[in-house]
Symmetry: C2
Subunit: 383 residues, 2 copies
Amino acid sequence: MSAGASVGRVETRTARLFDEAAPLVLESGATLGPVDVAYETYGDLDPDGGNAVFICHALTGDAHAAGLHDGATRPGWWDNIIGPGRPIDTDRFHVICANLLGGCMGTTGPSSTDPSTGRAYGLRFPLFTVADLVTVHRALLEHLGIRRLVAAVGGSLGGMQVLQWALDHPEEVGAAVVICATARLSPQNIAFSAVAREAIMRDPQFHGGDYEAAGTRPDRGLAVARMMAHITYLSEEGMRARFGRRLQDADVPRFGFDADFQVESYLQHQGESFLRRFDANSYLYLTRVMDYFDPFDDLASLGRKLERVGTGFLVISFDTDWRFDTSHSRDIVRMLAAHRTPVSFREISSPHGHDSFLLDIPDYHQTVATFLDRVYRNRGGRG
Amino acid sequence: MSAGASVGRVETRTARLFDEAAPLVLESGATLGPVDVAYETYGDLDPDGGNAVFICHALTGDAHAAGLHDGATRPGWWDNIIGPGRPIDTDRFHVICANLLGGCMGTTGPSSTDPSTGRAYGLRFPLFTVADLVTVHRALLEHLGIRRLVAAVGGSLGGMQVLQWALDHPEEVGAAVVICATARLSPQNIAFSAVAREAIMRDPQFHGGDYEAAGTRPDRGLAVARMMAHITYLSEEGMRARFGRRLQDADVPRFGFDADFQVESYLQHQGESFLRRFDANSYLYLTRVMDYFDPFDDLASLGRKLERVGTGFLVISFDTDWRFDTSHSRDIVRMLAAHRTPVSFREISSPHGHDSFLLDIPDYHQTVATFLDRVYRNRGGRG
């Protein structure tokens, strides 16, 4: 466990950032309102507002990044890195984390009520981009009276938001920590997400996305999607160490189709527990937003963007991550460095694959802590 | 295309190898009868029966390995390697290929009628092992009056059968060609198969395996299973070359959940076309038989087995195969070599991942041809 302490008791708040009179305008031109955003904050905001750090969460994360909710025993999903004395040090920083647009944990998404029909949006929820996720984060900052971040930090889809934010609004992001992310999904990455979506959409309980109106849920498909995705979050090496070919309940194989190997019952558990906390339509939208993400696609406009970027980047990958392997991070680093954007890169050794970004790995946490310490000491120097 | 020609017009025959009076006795002790086996042969059998080569097929293969069925335009699944002048040269060898026990292409499997009920077996079909697959192959040889193979050849699950056969009955297998196989699935290998089975078994049309009686089929689950498995048969590199991030029908993304990227429509096509040729219960049994395969588990009995093995092995892997990567082949080679079994090993360079074993890759085909040429010239030398 990291040194440092928990932020203690926390609660999720909700802010209405857009409404029907002043809707969110998406990159596609579609409008959306109302838009509510669930968020949490940890640590005090300096009087000059100059110590804010934004945490961008990944596909299945939420606003509850750190601390404990009232009555809960399990802390937020990134509690090991956020807290007093921890790498994202709440004695220094005012930390903000918000559930993503399209999510299902308090922020407006496809399970929210469409005011024009009085029913859940379902697949009538507009498709959005990573830039749209950033637009909503920026609206939250404005709501909170914060004009600029000392840092934005995120892993996986979170890192993609951090990258987009720093490219589009570099003056707002002092430093960017982009962890096991990508600037462009490979066809294999897209393929895994596509099959996960197929599992959901082919579930007869999906009802074209209107499962809520039908009084049901595509649980079978969502569980299969989660199980498959989970394989890509672990490494072959990590699975060997953790499960090997060990059997679940017996010394000798039972020779049947029930879970017999430990890895089978682990995946079943992952699939089932996911159903309690996630919505199938949100899974569709938040995987699809990644497929289309391609911020380096237009090199001409990229050049103009990067000219203005004073943001200092830390890019981190993990050597056994095969969901977004190190070559994805290297591509980001190469593109930034080619445009003379300040960037540090570390590939961290860890047996835990893509999931490493969520774990307390000393070398990793120390790398983040050292970078943010320098950011803190230099704060205001760039703004 | 390999030099050489096609074997031309062929047909699948069926033999009843076991019946209720003289049933197949499985490794588990369960009995099964009748057992019919669909098979094909190519090339003439020498008068002394000394030129037989057995082809063991993989998970979704069948008896139709080479040549053309009457009226068909698409040849057998391994036509590029089998034929006059091809690496498995039918001018020299009498080649036999049989659909596996538990399959759905003419050999008795879970979709066959259970004589005790008059209905399809479904999940009442007994679980079997790779050794049981070999038992049925051996019964077919006996039926054909062949006592010994000059070689057994197979890729993936096919290679697992070849390995088992040579370990258990080395006097019957002059040479063994084991291609991109494994002697022990990793937890990641098991995990992918487990999730594929979950997709099938959670399909509401599965009906506990009795979908035929219910007049339906778990097509949704089977298609998802196939799509996911297909990702593991291709390499990241091969997918980049073949699909990249190219769109299917448009110059600009359509931003929706229909197949938009080429890789998505390719996988959908793979899933759909699979439904026309494969049975869901067979998929369950033939993946499960791989999970439990572990012929090197008992080192004491292995030592005794390998002492007797005069079979010459050729083990082949492909450098971009991540379904059964080269380490799996190296483990087989190490175990054989440690027991002084003659074994040659080649890792072939190919961008096509696990599927490489089905493709006409010159270095690969030349390696097989050279090995089998030596086998042919030395035939009878060991027997």
